[in-house]
Symmetry: D2
């Protein structure tokens, strides 16, 4: 990755020669250059699949890293876009840090540009429950969101054409026993200020919120809400990936992401699980796999499945013609090729190999049904 | 990877139904399908770079795995070709195992074919020092090599047009203090029965043998000599690779490999080190890297290096025009992009950025010199 | 680990000097000495917790490694005991291998002794369903089990005082749709030849079989059924462990294990999950953790939990006094120390922090309830 | 690890309920509790071996993390002591951050106390070459070091009884071609303001500086100089450790460390290498290993070596009685047990097994000689 040098703005006299050295040093010391790795995820027909994290903190609220670190992390993990969303109302370090709400974005922006990462300006409106926390994306001036009344804050975001979503709706610190929808949420939703919900926060999944998204046509989002260095949570080098929102965009730009979010073309990728509408998950599944069905003789069928993606798929057999004898459950590993055998019994000539893909959630806590057809 | 099923040859009556189940089971239980990963290594102009291991054991000599395991390991690690080279004279399990010298090849061949791995028939002629151990590749009948006199064994291999090389010439069990060339080696070499030397065995490098190859025009080889499951030594999943011979072949076939070996178009890849002739290592280096040189102003030059390979390169500055100020040493990481800064001092307009690539050994224990030119 | 040298039994004349060298070589080449690592699991009151795998194959049935490899793997992974249980009726390599059913044990035994691993002599009776496959442990002569009728095979094992258990009862190759208990199993059980069931095979859990164990007082077992090198399935170096049966034994001997198996003092450790009777899982949980409860003021309680084991525990809140506000779910990581905060509301002075430990299965698919008491 | 909550100092009215929730949340969200792991390194006779890193940056100079992160990293990696040493003269973020030179220490101190990490107050005096950069440890007020003249800065540190050492003496940004000792260094050394040298910075070793330490009785130090999150450089979870100074202290306190530094009781641990005086490295080697020598018969000796440490040792045979036949080179792996065979030839009854431990550097780039005695 390109290695970025930061220059001091003011140079006192005796520092001059030092800085000359530091400048060169900055380049050569950073020998531990960053490597960008990509998770293999297919594009959809007409859309590019963008890997995004829309909920991230820095020292400018209660995070523990400088904003540029967030870009370096995103670069390393092959992300396409991030939003830094520092809290408006909670800034524990403001005794030490000057706190324009725009500052973390401004510091990260040039580095993001150089690294080819789409940086979206965001902020987190941070209130007690109800209504809890909300992220506003695509802001032009975060300062405007610093309002005593949360409704005013949301309105300020709307005035900037922000995309707004409810964060961690089932966070136990605010909803100790159950994930509740409060009257305030109805109000916010009715005034058009809730366009999506963070159905996964960190690695925690909120099935009730998944249901609300289906009922109310809200966009599904999954983000890290990372405060510490990302490696404290997931070690990309070790093969674990951060939670992300997959955005199916017409183009790889901030505007492309906004259009896709507004039209609910997203899926959530949380550890082994994908959460989204059936039309998107089904296409991801089919684009990820090459499936070949061959009869080896009258009673045996060989299904060869080549997984070209980094997804894993867990299949569980569902109701089926019992004359087709096949696996009870089966795991398709990332980048693996599998040969599955089906036995045709008692005169069966063909039929449907039915199963549920357990880790593709098209409904709350419910996998996606799928069939592979064996022609007679 | 394709999952291979082994069938029992004879089915006693009461086993019938069991086997029917095992057949299906073989396919579905082996859910832990193999994933093939590739090390990114560039091809050379006119040649495909094949990743090969020409020294491998199984239970048919003193190894501890069934021959098919060797194919599965090679598949998983992205190798193109292997030779199983069981000892002719040392078969500690022959009280338990029938011991045709051709058997390990015969068992592995159909699996290799299905997996797309080139399997080369080989054997290891196993004698005390002098002359030590020799591998013969491209055999048609290993049985012929079972001869009391080692010269007869070598002659039998030559009669089959084998490619023959001296294994682990500095193995301390046979050469306790120094790596010696004995009169017997001169004799073997003069009769054309030593065409190469295993300059790296496991991860051990023999610089004296490297020198002999240069002097006598012998092919450089590096192999694992693996006896146990390969993961007991190198964990490919963890990013460590086995020692291998890179073969620059006109075509990816056994015949293509033989032609390349006979014409000494090889390099050895041992941990971070490549060993080979300068013409090959230089081309690998240049094909691996995109190098861009830009003057940012009168006194500063920015060299951007993008490494498209999985190789690492360690650069150490060598003698140079001191008006060019640059790194003392620098590491180019696998798949990384680096920006290196060069300062032009005291009126220098351009010049050569000279360094040695420490881990590209073109001479025994000696790195490859290289220059990046800055035009005035 | 001690490095073992195998000697050829017969030395032809010209091999003499070679072998002398090989002998020394065997020792020095095997430089990749084995390191034994231990999973931290507490002992129970009066019992030592032994880590065991009672279902393992070698080339002497349809496995792919020499028997000694199984001992080396067990050593490296910190196991205390293994049983090699090659199939009686399924030996695909018997065209190549002499096939006394006792041979794999005999080959592994001296190596196990030197490595301090308890090696239990076993065999797998391998039939179609019903009744499927059964493992017999603590055999004296496996040859006696080679009988046309499976009932005779089981009787032969009983005559040797074997501990016998039903393997992979829900293996889809034999039970394609549901895990069924057949009339044959009742018969076997009634004649005392089914003393336990393999409730976990590989990483597959059979909840129906878990239920049968509870109802019929059968011993719970979890084993790998490994055929390939173990690293093809779980990479201990990477922090994943193989499935194992934890045996709570009075002494670390084969006899101690037998006594514990007969008295059902076991638990199964499968990835993050433990399966067993509540009395054992509860004690493991309590011995693994140091729990300290402190009131920091009238309304806040701090619970400090130090996990001294390598287990992970997933806690989910259950029904509770709603005046105690605490986490909804919480994960206690291996070797980690956690501070959990409980808020006392509306005048509560104390009460029970109730939760379910989701990954301690005391009933089929059901976690273990637990409470931490806050004294008023 | 204890999870630390930071509270906002001022609570505006509408934030009240939010904060109450955040407080509890802070505790439960931080579920990713830290695990402390220890590298196994033996203590020396009369001294405890403390793992220390004395050169660390935060956002309060040109690092990228908040000071508390440094404590969390140290905790996780099993370190005993760290010094945060932000630059006095180079603070690129001081447009955003209030910049008392004491602030990073003050922020980290309470967290360090809670975590049981010894936090040493330090600062880096940051000048062009000569004289380059110097770290001052055990300061009471870093503000005093902010002086136009570097000699005044050093004097201010001396007045506070600081331990002062020269950082990265061969840093190529300041010493482009060779590691030079300048007249200024003589001056500093003569006035007692250079008590040690950072012979390893990051993973770069400066053999010239090693030599100067030997000649001038200076303390050897090795530190990370980390600016980014530590995992960007070394992944402790993956088995790589950061560079550290091992301090052989009479007690595990800041005062104990100072006394040991002043008396040069240190060693540097850089990847596989240890650098230090022979008396310390030899004792570490002997305390790490159990060595047992047995004659198995008249001509064979078995040396069993059990490595109880996480160190690796690379042995290379040196000049020896050639009647003792043994390995040419040998690697003793961490926590491994090895059996080494020695053959006694031509009537030898005993003698010395001589070798050099290549990765224990007692002189610049030179390993430590060692002998294992075989009694007649």
């Amino acid at each position: 990755m390109v290695i970025f040098v930061t220059f001091a703005q003011t140079i006192s006299k005796y520092m001059k020669r030092t800085l000359l050295c530091l400048l060169i040093a900055g380049l050569s010391l950073a020998g531990s250059a960053q490597t960008r790795k990509n998770i293999q995820i297919p594009n959809l027909h007409g859309f590019v699949t963008l890997k995004c994290d829309f909920h991230i903190h820095t020292v400018f609220s209660d995070g523990t890293v400088w904003p540029t670190v967030r870009v370096a992390e995103a670069y390393r993990e092959g992300l396409d876009a991030i939003a830094i969303t520092d809290h408006i109302e909670y800034r524990p370090y403001n005794g030490d840090l000057k706190t324009s709400h725009n500052r973390s974005y401004d510091l990260a922006a040039p580095v993001a540009k150089a690294a080819g990462i789409i940086l979206i300006k965001g902020s987190e409106i941070t209130r007690a429950m109800p209504p809890g926390h909300f992220n506003a994306l695509f802001l032009t001036d975060s300062e405007e969101l610093d309002q005593p009344d949360y409704l005013d804050a949301l309105r300020a975001a709307q005035k900037q054409n922000a995309f707004i979503f409810w964060n961690h709706p089932g966070w136990d610190a605010q909803q100790p026993d159950t994930t509740l929808w409060w009257a305030e949420h109805t109000k916010i939703w009715e005034q058009g200020a809730m366009m999506g919900i963070e159905v996964v926060n960190g690695t925690e999944y909120f099935p009730e919120a998944h249901q609300w998204c289906l009922e109310k046509n809200l966009t599904l989002l999954g983000n890290t809400d990372v405060h510490d260095p990302i490696q404290a949570h997931s070690d990309f080098a070790d093969g674990t990936h951060r939670t992300m929102t997959l955005v199916f965009a017409k183009e790889a730009t901030a505007e492309g992401i906004r259009e896709a979010l507004l039209n609910r073309r997203t899926a959530i990728y949380n550890r082994e699980t994908l959460i989204g509408e059936e039309r998107y998950l089904k296409e991801l599944f089919e684009k990820a796999l090459d499936i070949k069905v061959e009869k080896t003789n009258n009673t045996t069928v060989r299904i060869t499945i080549k997984n070209n993606s980094d997804f894993i798929f867990h299949l569980n057999k569902t109701k089926h013609d019992e004359r087709l004898v096949y696996f009870r459950n089966y795991t398709i590993v990332p980048q693996g090729t599998h040969v599955i055998s089906v036995r045709l019994q008692d005169g069966a000539q063909g039929g449907d190999v039915n199963f549920c893909v357990e880790n593709l959630l098209t409904q709350p806590n419910q996998g996606m049904p799928y069939s592979i057809k064996i022609l007679p």
